[in-house]
Amino acid sequence: MASITLRDVRKSYGNAHVIKGVDIDIQDGEFCVFVGPSGCGKSTLLRMIAGLEDITSGSLAIGDTVVNDLPPAQRGVAMVFQSYAIFPHMTVRENVAFGLTIAGASKAEKDAKVAEAARILQMEHLLDRRPSQLSGGQRQRVAIGRAIVRKPEVFLFDEPLSNLDAALRMDMRMEIGKLHQQLGATMIYVTHDQVEAMTLADKIVVLRDGKVMQIGAPMDLYHDPANLFVAGFLGAPSMNFIDVTVKAVNGNSALVFNDALDPVEVSARRGPFRVGDRAILGLRPQYLSIAEGPGKLHGTVALTERLGAETVVEVALRNGKAVIAALSHDAVYPIGSAVDLGFDPAQAHLFQPEE
């Protein structure tokens, strides 16, 4: 069993605190994605799990064993690096077999395991080439191949697709997803790309400045973000935030408004909110629509981007702020024309303003 448990894990370089107390539970066989902007500590956290960085305090357990002080090799993890870290002077075959060579495996065993890894990754024809003769995607396969021959319980991926071009990135993303289903191993995947996080993860950990912002299944995070940061980080185009004032509080809901927004009653469970408080209303562009009759938000069209199946409209609100609406049909809205936007209050999120 290779569940992974982090308890109040911290990392400091002198006075610089990089990881500020992180608790994460990852189940056996789960695909967990650490996501966050650059500098949030996600790679550091992954390297701490791998054993490449010391843990300043807290405990890290793989399975039932606390591994804080074990060297990387004894943690039963394999890692795929952003720069692939494949050995330039070895052939693909030697690279993939490296872990077995180190462990002193017989040639027959190496051949069998390398052949199996090559079959899984569809790179049998590459085995006798040198890394310099491979494309980026092929190098990535070699790096993954080297990780899977050892049949580790935990795979760690450190931004594995960020050096690939967009088309290849999508292919490899799907392959990594398939690989996870095929191997059933626990995987931790670090990325700053929210699309990779949303599509691959069973569980997403959103990090910011060394702290966990929210942990949960991708759809839970998308539909029920715990705070402004998570709400703004996941989803593209990102969520509109509108400053509002609380007019009335009614149990679990609140009536909010501003100059451009007619009073609307939305869920207030990220509260508490009091009458007269300032608050922030989050509206995903996809859930905004052009109202036929009088809508809730009033403004004028500032910009239209027609993408064929989708039309992105930037609306300048009456109070000077702008919101973006992503409409799932092709339509023309002349710039400067007055529009009213409507939305389902159940899809709106009310947050407390950040200090």
Binding site: G51, L52, P71, P72, A73, F81, S83, A85, I86, R150
Partner: protein
């Protein structure tokens, strides 16, 4: 964008001019002169006209011959024994005015060995000192190249760590390189002194007087070794820095990948560090070899080729002949021979260490 400087031919030549002139004057011209003079009898200062002598200079330096010498026989045809071993005629009697072998005239014994039976095989050289110089130089190169490269690599591995004050060690190891080899040689002459030298004092103290003082530079069996040891010490820091630069080009993630795969320290060196240093190793090997063939200053300051010619080297010979004996054609010939030796060895090294695809 082509700037005015890159398209203007005249500016280009003006910029390159000083370097081209200096290289032509101090490298290319002397090289061509040396090749030319080696086929003449030119002397440094001489009233006589220069004559073309063909390969005579080369013949004078490199001529070797093999002579089988039978033991002396008495009138009865019995081998003459002296102290139980056969007695041989003096070599001089066979090389001088020998009507059977006029080609041996003027040659001297280099070394001899038994050929089984009583007869001895004697290798004769026209210039025994030059032969010794070649042997000494090769000995120097064969010892210095691997030992200096190996030590430098060990030092580089030691200082390639993130430790507090590691720069102090880097500076200490590099210091001898900055000091002129002449100064180093003078200092080491004191260290090696036969009476009260530092080395003898040290050995005597450490062994409680068991090791008697040795005249390191005055003894034919220790002189060359002493110079080798000092030369390795002096330049090891330079090669250490080159190794270090090679070590630092190896991507740290390769080491991390190896750590995750569980490689031991030796395996990391064997599979990652050493292959990553391949090009550096080729460079260092060739540089040390070429430098070692140029051995001169240490000899000139410390031993002057002695004792008993045991520290004569090719370059020392070239300079001693060319300027000491004013035989500039002989010195030139030695330079050309050295050039051919170094060139062929470098080419062989290049070929042996080529990228096998």
């Amino acid at each position: 964008m082509a700037s005015r400087f890159t398209v203007s031919n005249r500016t280009g030549w003006l910029m390159a001019g000083p370097a081209v002139l200096l290289i032509a004057g101090f490298v290319i011209l002397p090289f061509l002169l040396a090749v030319g003079l080696s086929f003449t009898n030119q002397r440094l200062v001489s009233p006589n006209p220069t004559e073309f002598v063909g390969l005579a200079n080369y013949n004078q330096l490199l001529d070797l011959a093999l002579l089988t010498v039978e033991p002396l026989k008495d009138d009865a045809g019995q081998t003459v024994l002296k102290d139980g071993v056969p007695e041989y005629p003096p070599i001089r009697s066979l090389t001088r005015n020998n009507p059977d072998r006029p080609d041996l005239n003027g040659m001297r014994e280099w070394f001899s060995f038994s050929s089984g039976g009583d007869a001895r095989l004697v290798v004769l050289a026209r210039d025994v000192v030059f032969m010794k110089a070649i042997v000494n130089t090769f000995t120097f190169v064969i010892v210095v190249a691997p030992v200096q490269a190996g030590l430098a690599l060990c030092l580089a591995l030691l200082i390639n760590q993130r430790l507090k004050g590691i720069n102090i060690f880097r500076a200490i190891y590099f210091m001898p390189v900055v000091v002129s080899i002449v100064v180093v040689s003078l200092l080491w002459r004191l260290i090696y002194d036969g009476q009260s030298g530092l080395l003898n004092n040290l050995l005597g103290t450490l062994s409680f007087g068991m090791i008697p003082p040795i005249d390191w530079l005055g003894n034919p069996s220790t002189a060359l070794g002493s110079i080798i040891a000092m030369s390795i010490w002096q330049a090891v820091g330079f090669h250490m820095v080159i190794w270090l630069s090679g070590l630092q080009t190896i991507s740290p993630t390769l080491y991390e990948a190896a750590a995750i795969e569980g490689a031991s320290k030796w395996q990391v060196f064997r599979y990652i560090t050493w292959p990553g240093l391949r090009n550096t190793a080729v460079l260092i090997l060739i540089v040390i070899t070429m430098q070692a063939f140029g051995l001169f200053a240490q000899i000139d300051v410390m031993t002057n080729g002695g004792p008993l010619d045991s520290t004569h080297t090719i370059v020392f010979q070239a300079i001693e002949r060319g300027y000491g004996k004013q035989d500039i054609s002989g010195g030139s010939t030695i330079s050309v021979i050295l050039f051919v030796i170094v060139l062929s060895i470098s080419l062989i090294q290049r070929w042996l260490t080529r990228e096998k695809s």
